[in-house]
Amino acid sequence: MKIGATLGLQAIQVAYNGKAILKDISLEVRPGEILALVGPNGAGKTTLIRTASGVLTPTRGRVQVNGRDLNLLSPSERAQWMAVVPQAHQLPATFTVYQTVMLGRTPYLGWLGFPRKEDEDIVQQVLRRTQLEDLASRRIGELSGGEQQRVLLARALAQNTPILLLDEPTAHLDLHHQALILKLVRQTVQECGLAVLLAIHDLNLVSLYADRVALLVDGHLQREGRPAQVLTKSEIERAYGVEVELLEHPRLPAPFIIPHSNGSSERVAYVG
């Protein structure tokens, strides 16, 4: 496995039908850290992930891996540096968990995709790590949403890349599965020194799991820094246009964000 890679986005601009979706975004994700990408719907999070993974070509600016331009790499080379965890929907239902995770070895496989012993060992290892061993021979159509998402994470881990991109991996998942996915990512970052770019909606999960946060609003990078620096009352209210209240986590130095619902403060006042 390639060790320790830095993902660099330099002055990225992406336009679609003449409309700018990302405007001059510069970010760096370093080995051993999780950079969370947050922002309102339509801010450009998914576009940024797609650009970073090479699916979209930026109209201006460049995506670099360890200082080398992404578009100079061949597709299979790129897939050995960088893996993507997409959202689990419309998966081919009759593929088994094992087959699906094995597809993560694609960039290393030869003609006809015959796996070697090494590939099988890696897949076994990843299945164990993601607690999917017992489900290995099940079809992915029979799994719950949380399990399917874990299969896609496992497939990306089987790619054995130093860079990992995740596109809202916790959307539509229950508390248990949200925590399971993010814990697995955190654990892998610590053990293998991965550089992780994580697009995510839930600010409280960001507060718990991310090392740094980039707040994207309307294609602009509004603020970037440690969670406590970015997730402030004023930044959040400016970005999302809702009033919020910040609380301290009882045990951790992490801010917790609670939105006001309409008129709730008055009702609380009456009850109080």
Binding site: R50, V55, A79, M82, Q90, T94, Y98, T106
Partner: protein
């Protein structure tokens, strides 16, 4: 028995089962026919294919029937079935649509038009002439698949409704042109009509040799891309992120599947539903892995068309039905069943 989709892809049983079925189908296809040949003579004629035998006491007519009529016909049917089934499987994987079939999406009709244009210019007499027909059919097939793909595509996906509608429209257009050209070339009308309904209209080894290189070549390209087809089932974006050159792979798949279809259509006419029934049956039996699905579909397709052809020859003997009539009678209900299932769930 193991769950079908957990079967390791190198497991030998599916290949043994389908090879055995294929050999049996080939055997019956050669043995059964309008002329009754005594079993002992038949056995000697068959054995003579493998080992040198003195056949001087066998009536030459029998020898001609078995060696120069039935055997090449059976092999042509086997090649055609293998081509239609494997290209059907490939189109389904490429378009991520369970109802893609060379016949339904209009590729077969396009190939037919190309072939008929070539045949109308001059009915071929030499092997060189024969080899030109699949090339013309290939041009027609490629043109139709690109038109249908363009018409049916909605954003990044290829919905069933638009795919089938575009296929039907383009297919009708190509068939109308084909009929027009056929009506203009009066002498060949009967032969051409039988061809249009799906039936081999030429005898002897010539069409076998003319179809063989295209079908085998196209199949080998498809098979070499079977791992790519597996990855493509997760969508083009994920395939790209897993390191596949998606556009190049799609181009090769379309070229190879269209060539395979075209070669089959050139000499066996418009035969529908083989490309639908066979791959889906194989999926149900042995799972969705394309590395196994493609070769098994080829064997299964050969088998299915040999049996359909046998049925077409004996059902109303001595009259011979076009084999396309038999496959449509069996295939159309299957198609409707598949359509109902596809509505309610992801079937593959």
């Amino acid at each position: 028995m193991k769950e079908p989709s957990t079967l390791p892809f190198w497991s030998a049983r599916p290949y043994l089962v389908s090879s055995l079925a294929f050999v049996l189908a080939l055997f019956f296809s050669v043995v059964v026919g309008a002329v009754w040949i005594p079993p002992q003579t038949m056995a000697r004629l068959l054995a003579a294919l493998a080992i040198p035998l003195d056949l001087s006491d066998v009536p030459p007519a029998y020898q001609t029937i078995v060696h120069d009529v039935r055997l090449p016909h059976a092999i042509l049917m086997a090649l055609t079935g293998a081509a239609l089934a494997s290209s059907g499987a490939a189109y389904q994987g490429l378009f991520r649509n369970p109802l893609a079939d060379p016949y339904l999406i209009g590729v077969a009709s396009g190939a037919g038009l190309g072939a008929v244009i070539a045949l109308a210019l001059r009915w071929p007499a030499t092997l060189g002439g024969w080899l030109v027909v699949p090339v013309a059919a290939f041009g027609g097939a490629l043109l139709t698949v690109l038109i249908v793909y363009r018409l049916a595509r909605v954003n990044q996906s290829l919905p069933t409704t638009t795919l089938i509608l575009a296929g039907v429209a383009v297919s009708s257009f190509a068939t109308a042109l084909t009929s027009f050209i056929m009506l203009r070339s009066r002498d060949e009308l009967h032969r051409a009509l039988a061809w249009l309904l799906g039936g081999s209209t030429v005898n002897g080894w010539m069409p076998v040799w003319a179809a063989f290189p295209y079908i085998i070549g196209g199949f080998l390209v498809l098979w070499s891309l079977s791992h790519v087809l597996n990855v493509l089932q997760f969508g083009e974006e994920q395939a790209h992120q897993l390191g596949i050159r998606v556009e190049r792979a799609k181009l090769w798949l379309i070229l190879a599947a269209s060539l395979t279809t075209a070669a089959a259509v050139s000499f066996s006419g418009l035969i529908g539903f083989i490309g639908l029934i066979v791959p889906h049956t194989i999926r149900l039996l042995w799972g969705p892995d394309y590395r196994r699905l493609l070769p098994l579909s080829a064997l299964g397709g050969a088998c299915a068309l040999l049996l359909a052809d046998l049925l077409a020859r004996v059902a109303l003997a001595p009259q011979v039905l076009p084999v396309g009539v038999v496959t449509a009678l069996a295939g159309a209900p299957f198609f409707l069943w598949l359509l109902r299932r596809a509505k309610s769930e992801f079937i593959w």
